[in-house]
């Protein structure tokens, strides 16, 4: 992408646009089934969690999905493609209320809301998960990447299974 990207040289508006573009590009990849392009949004030593808000708020460490490296993200992609059984579906991510909540030693902390709509066979489109992303974003190999992405979902009961990343 842009090898010259330097966080300290960006104005707040520019930074915000960069982060929004990252989030929207991320949603685009997921919603269009381009899962090979999903792991490269993360650093190699990333932490990715889909975690119930109930656990997060109460300090319970359990995540519904936990990936502790980019390699584990790729393992999830392989499982989605080759291992798991599920009915066909569409996803649609709606991401809003993007806010930069801090920058410290080259790490941008950003928070945003998400709603994921799921469309299943023989059914209407329904809200699948709603919640917020808590992201730590860094510059890695000249592009913005998630070093940490927490997908904290409010939804008390997951409608059946999370077969696909959020």
């Amino acid at each position: 992408m842009n090898p010259g990207l330097d966080l300290s040289k960006l104005t707040p508006i520019e930074l915000r646009l960069q982060v929004e573009e990252l989030l929207y590009a991320y949603a685009d990849v997921l919603d269009n089934g381009l899962l090979d392009d999903w792991p490269p949004f993360f650093t190699s030593d990333c932490l990715y969690q889909i975690i119930a808000r109930e656990n997060y708020d109460r300090g319970f460490p359990l995540a519904t999905m936990l990936c502790e490296s980019q390699a584990m993200l790729r393992d999830r992609v392989t499982a989605y493609r080759q291992a798991n059984v599920y009915s066909p579906r569409y996803f649609r991510h709606l991401i809003s209320t993007v806010r930069i909540v801090g920058i410290e030693s080259g790490i941008v902390s950003a928070r945003s809301n998400f709603a994921v709509l799921q469309t299943l066979v023989d059914d209407k489109t329904r809200v699948f998960l709603a919640g917020r992303y808590e992201d730590c974003i860094v510059i890695d190999e000249g592009r913005l990447r998630f070093r940490q992405k927490l997908c904290i979902y409010d939804t008390l009961h997951v409608p059946n299974s999370i077969v696909h990343p959020v």
């Binding site: 109930e54 319970f60 519904t64 499982a79 059984v85 059946n160 999370i162």
Partner: protein, 410 residues
């Protein structure tokens, strides 16, 4: 012509057939609530460590009925119906918390931590007018109380006040496996996962009593030898057939005579980050998987180092809530806790194994609900319910239906 109305007669072949009307019929569902969940059964409630201090409470369900488990000032645990004795309000709306007493919001009747009614506003009237009759007795208008028993940190409750002790309810063999995991060590909750699976609750039990499917459906189990039909295994039932345990020992990712018929076996499937599958031995025996189904509402899971209870809460004939409580032992070191959390990826609503089950159970409900007069076939491994030293059997499902039919009068 095929009739679509059930006649409530079980097929003549007995428990080797399952009539599909039992998965969707509202009258059957209502009878299950009454005879199974509210009948003579010990229902899983949770762990003592979820309510460690006086006043701590947890809200949960026995069948569809909401109950509260609370610890009183003397440290005793009480389980009572979350339904006000006055007009039926479900007064407790928080999943957990700490309370001195429970006050129903509607007319503010007050209950203590044992479920006794201790206060009724305007009982003596206001300015000499109104009030409850003189002979209104607080003591006889408490909440409906369940009988509770704790077993090595796990709480069970029943509506049947004359229920036999939990140990007798399980029988020796099932009690052995239960106390293998709940061996008296402290239980540390790692977190919860909750999902709604759109199928009849019994299908979840059948799934965990059915080792036959695991070697065919689950690429993860089959490929990595986590649970596979060609490994040394056991299927055991209690004398009534209502409880069961599936036991197995880990094998390897290599083709055997048995894997030939397993389309799910993938010899070249690899994990890029193998930390996910890094189990360590932690129990005295050599079993690496023990899946126990305890009638009527809980599954106790040990798969490698991931431990969990899965509580079944029916939500109508065609869906149920599955509550996973993942736990560790208080004596675990940090590395073991991390290992358990990592292996938790195998199970739960996003589990590399259990996603397959949730989906297939939904497909099952879609098939059976439209065809209530058809029957399922349960003949793998014969037609009886004897224990076996292999997993090519549906004996544990047949055992479940032997007991089910007896209690349901079917």
């Amino acid at each position: 012509m095929i009739s679509t109305a059930p006649d409530y007669r079980w097929p003549e072949a007995g428990s080797s057939r399952i009539p599909y009307w039992i998965y969707s019929d509202p009258a059957i569902y209502a009878r299950e609530q009454e005879r199974l969940f509210s009948g003579s059964s010990w229902n899983y409630i949770g762990f003592e460590s979820e309510i460690p201090a006086p006043g701590d409470f947890k809200r949960t369900f026995v069948g569809e009925r909401s109950v509260v488990a609370a610890r009183d000032r003397d440290g005793h645990i009480h389980v009572f119906l979350n339904t006000c004795a006055h007009r039926g309000v479900q007064f407790c709306r928080h999943s957990h918390g700490n309370a001195k007493s429970f006050v129903c919001p509607y007319h503010q009747w007050v209950y203590d931590l044992k479920g006794n009614l201790v206060g009724v506003p305007f009982r003596k009237g206001v300015q000499g007018q109104g009030g409850m009759p003189e002979d209104f007795d607080l003591a006889s208008h408490g909440l409906v109380k369940l009988k509770a028993e704790t077993v090595n940190g796990a709480i069970f409750a029943t509506f049947d006040q004359r229920m036999v002790p939990f140990r007798d309810y399980l029988g020796d063999s099932m009690y052995h496996y239960f106390t293998r995991v709940f061996d008296g060590r402290g239980i540390r909750v790692l977190g919860y996962a909750r999902q709604i699976i759109p199928c009849n609750w019994k299908l979840m039990f059948e799934n965990i009593k059915d080792p036959y499917h695991a070697s065919l459906l689950h690429v993860f189990l089959v490929t990595f030898g986590l649970f596979r039909a060609d490994q040394k295994s056991d299927v055991k039932l209690d004398p009534t057939g209502r409880h069961a345990v599936l036991v197995s020992r880990k094998g390897e990712q290599k083709a055997t005579e048995g894997t030939a018929e397993m389309r799910s076996f993938k010899a070249d499937y690899k994990l890029e980050d193998p930390r996910l599958l890094d189990p360590v031995k932690e129990f005295p025996d050599d079993a690496t998987v023990v899946m126990q189904t305890l009638f009527p509402n809980v599954i106790v899971q040990q798969q490698s180092n991931t431990l969990a209870t899965r509580q079944i809460i029916p939500r109508g004939p065609d869906r149920f809530e599955l509550v996973w409580t993942y736990f560790a032992y208080t004596t675990d070191d940090e590395a073991m806790v991390r290992r358990r959390l990592r292996q938790a990826n195998l199970m739960g609503p996003a589990g590399l194994v259990s996603v397959d089950d949730g989906e297939v159970l939904e497909f099952t409900q879609d098939g059976v609900k439209a065809n209530p007069t058809m029957n399922g076939i349960l003949e793998m491994g014969g037609r009886d319910r004897a224990d076996t030293a292999h997993m090519v059997t549906e004996a544990a499902i047949r055992g479940f239906y032997d007991y089910y039919r007896e209690v349901m009068g079917l």
